[in-house]
Symmetry: C2
Subunit: 429 residues, 2 copies
Amino acid sequence: MVEKRMPLPVAEAVERVMNYKKRQEKEWVPLEKAHGRFLAEDLKADHDVPSFDRSPYDGFAIIAEDTTEASQEKPAVLEVIGEIGAGSVFENEVKQGQAVRIMTGAQIPDSCNAVVMLELVKEKKDNNNSYIEIKRSFKAGDNISFQGEDTKAGTSLIDKGTCITPGISALLATFGYDKVPAAKKPVVGIIATGSELLEVKEPLQPGKIRNSNAYMIMAQIEKAGAEPKYFGKFSDDFDDCLRAVQDALAEVDLLITTGGVSVGDYDYMPAILKELNASVLFNKVGMRPGSVTTIAAMEDKLIYGLSGNPSACYVGFELFVRPIVRHSLFTNKPHLRKSKAVLGTSFPKPNPFTRFVRAKLFDEDGQYQAVPAGLDKSGSVTSLAEASAFIVLPGGTRGYEKGMIVDILLIDDEQGSEWPWANIVPSYK
Amino acid sequence: MVEKRMPLPVAEAVERVMNYKKRQEKEWVPLEKAHGRFLAEDLKADHDVPSFDRSPYDGFAIIAEDTTEASQEKPAVLEVIGEIGAGSVFENEVKQGQAVRIMTGAQIPDSCNAVVMLELVKEKKDNNNSYIEIKRSFKAGDNISFQGEDTKAGTSLIDKGTCITPGISALLATFGYDKVPAAKKPVVGIIATGSELLEVKEPLQPGKIRNSNAYMIMAQIEKAGAEPKYFGKFSDDFDDCLRAVQDALAEVDLLITTGGVSVGDYDYMPAILKELNASVLFNKVGMRPGSVTTIAAMEDKLIYGLSGNPSACYVGFELFVRPIVRHSLFTNKPHLRKSKAVLGTSFPKPNPFTRFVRAKLFDEDGQYQAVPAGLDKSGSVTSLAEASAFIVLPGGTRGYEKGMIVDILLIDDEQGSEWPWANIVPSYK
């Protein structure tokens, strides 16, 4: 009577989903609104930085050779023939025996080749002329920020798909982007199902729980870089659910439903997918939580049936939705970044499925320690609030001991990974 | 002729600034807009989660004692007297020899004490009655998610000042927060000064650079959790600058100026602070970059004079502005989080000042490696785009060698630190 579903290894499930990856269009966003968006083009330096030789200090631009013989006892004396504020250019020629007062960031006059810091000279007046005394020698190139020393024109600086940080905003401004080529955000729809769901503001009732998944996923969508669109919650009428899914599909780039993917009598998602004639990529994955995760496609649009259990729903999003969203935002590292950590608790019981344990990361002198956050059950909601990583425990016949080095996937990391699944082998098959 | 400034140790400078810390007011934000905001109250569980004993699977709720003798050869046979969908409550009494079909998440009937998964029973029909066969024994409590096992009513779950993540959104929904108590964002003003500055969209001109600091700081302000307000750039007229600062102060919670803090002839900030009768907390810090960072207060409002050099400006913001913003958002860990890393490059030359080297972090099997990003000069802008940490090299008479373990401050980490400066001792005094 119960439908038998064959579990798919996680890596293969992710691979099937990634077959539907595509890039978003590009749009131009004002620089001051671009923080947190994703670059849709590689960022190249279109000019040298600095674009001219400049002074890193307030001081005097000199010809270094004038100081070759300078010493405490016999300082070099140079005539000050003018001054250069930041942003201006000195038009006259500086000759041997002469110097020009120069401000931080100002352009070095053509014939000068060194800068003496203000603190190192003694200034003197004589017959309306100004002089400086310099008590040591300088070499050509001393205290000059050379054209192109920070970056050369043509250098590729930032890859497309990178999230725009404050440092990248500075670079964009430097290269004249008052508008930034950013990936258009994909619209991700959410439909919650389940007759046990109360609205957040409703008082608790026996047997019921508040709808937390929809709000959690809206936040996950935003964090991934997309735009959430919530269509509400639907309960136990099949036709209502079907129509909601159909209507939503027309308005979004991809659609997430929560709940109703199990094999129980009220689990409508399989029937809805059938009715829609959607092609089901899989309906069982060799993972805990989230083994009932079901993903289907209508032409090139993905429909995600995530579990109604909060932890299972959360993990399903990060493994299967996030990489599709991030790829659409032009990155080539769309998956959660993999690293390693010292396991903080033993998991003595073997499990045939690969486990994703919500974990808190500590770092002891730069070495990660991963400790399970809250209760390790698929229904747990508190574990999600504190988790910053998943501990990955591949399925098989063995348990895992405290102190072992294990794979982790970082949830809050923006660096991402091209393909974290290479060495995570499931052994339950 | 040159004003002598005494450098203050970094820790002492930060401490002086933190004397001006204060909390923002609280405001109520709709849950779906709360992602990324900061909690203004501790989050406590106001009810048990789960709030009732529930089934983690689709299956049958039974009385465990009915299966004590069950085996492959002599299965226990129970009469199925009804079913419970998720969200509903079974009203009748379940007696010995009886079972109830139950859906994932549904409430366990009063007299039942175990759940048998759907896959483990054989269903039968007989005279319009339904029966199940169970081929092994179950114990009281098997496959039940107990009331309060995830969290007990009254448990303190999340501290105020925490940034609202997707997992926290789920918790907030669970506890009925359709509106969330969030810290009101402080408004941080920005004024750029410097006659060398071009607007971002202007073509390059000899001796000039584009105004990158303002856009960088706007993004840093957003990232810190505050609201940026940009008042534009002002060049070489003292009265214009003074008026701009005065006007801006009336509209913001704190004000940042960039440039003009050095001791050059066009560096107006010291004179403006004097004219305003602001009390200067310090005008020189024993750090590189950013030694000329100047911070003052007008009554309880801070005025930041950050260096016009991009790297110095960036570091100055993260060390001195971020903790004030974050404290105002109710956290007790307002500073960048300190960790340790393996130093990826040697710094053979000693420096009397404490250096903050913009660095890329790699992790090798969970152990941080820190490598300087781009050019380590205060004017560098490319180094900021790639940096995710500062390497902290305390000032003194020694250099630092590749492979040493050094302190780092993490730029992209949301965890924060109460006081990272305890063991970072300057030795230049």
